[in-house]
Symmetry: C3
Subunit: 146 residues, 3 copies
């Protein structure tokens, strides 16, 4: 039996909570709801993507990034949709959650066919603050980039 | 803290029930199982899409619509698959459920590559009748249409 | 009321367990983690696909198949991602689970746009051995093939 197989799992209650968290989190992102989206991260959250040398750090920088992206997409009349799937959730000893999942990004321009824009893997650490789950760190890799 | 963040959530039991409901509901739709699919709506259900001025109303009209679509797709040797994802479920005071989720439609023709046909947002009100969840109202928007 | 609607459902605990199982199972598959992936099947598992006359049988043959596929994809610098969705789970009388779900395969080559490779339906029987879920039998159909 491999070590992957004996890893501790989370309860159904926590698993559903994580799924609902991502659903709301992505809808805020794609809706350009800047402040509420930033509040789904911890104040000191890090967000690493392969196209930036340094991770984005903290809510203020996350807000700035999403505000800019939202304006660019609106100007291009493009709607993005982020999907998480194949969500594997593991409990850490300190009560935080370790998530590894797949992430798709779809892009649709007005009057055009939708496009599969990106296929990614997303690794999150989620923590609980004031009863809510928040992203403490996120690392995204893209299947098209090394 | 935004109001989105303090909204009440459903239990894991209800969240799993909604996921299983959509799984069966979409498999009936894509399988062209007309009667059983219509029975996943309330008798007086409404189903609004951006390409129709008025919502489809009631099981009889839903049956008629699906019967026609199923025949057209069979004639074209095209298989559609509807996927719900990023499913956010909130309880209403009257016991009904409010769902906002993403919906994809894939289309595959015999011997051809599959195509991402539509990217949509689906807003449902689900109610419980005789122990089962049913769609009372559905509103679908498409990312490619205003 | 159709018979589909009165079928027994699994608990939220089991539903979450199945979702987490598939998440890990697919990540092992797409990561080419041959041994751990083979261990998510029973020793005598069968895996039927439309392009093979006979199902693949047993862990040894599954390992051999995944080892070969992993090498071919690495040589082509192609990353595949398998997604399960619309997962309907039903309990059998003998304690096993009957799953019918949709399956997508995405394919991404280095520096290229991702591609929707396959749209499939997957029918599994899952059994519990030593506390873990395992695939006992799998039948995959492809929407592009008869």
């Amino acid at each position: 039996m491999s070590t992957q197989q004996v890893a501790e799992r989370v309860t159904a209650e926590v698993y559903a909570e994580v799924q609902q968290f991502y659903a709301e989190h992505m809808q805020l992102l794609d809706g350009g709801v800047v402040d509420a989206w930033a509040e789904t991260f911890t104040e000191d959250a890090t967000f690493a993507v392969p196209t930036l040398e340094e991770p984005t750090r903290g809510r203020e920088e996350l807000r700035r990034t999403l505000r800019r992206t939202t304006q660019e997409l609106a100007a291009a009349q493009e709607q993005r949709r982020h999907w998480h799937g194949m969500v594997a959730v593991f409990p850490n000893d300190d009560g935080s959650l370790r998530v590894r999942c797949y992430a798709l990004v779809f892009a649709t321009r007005r009057e055009q066919q939708p496009v599969l824009h990106r296929v990614c893997v997303c690794e999150d650490v989620l923590v609980r603050e004031g009863g809510r789950l928040l992203v403490k760190s996120r690392k995204v890799t893209r299947d098209d980039l090394p």
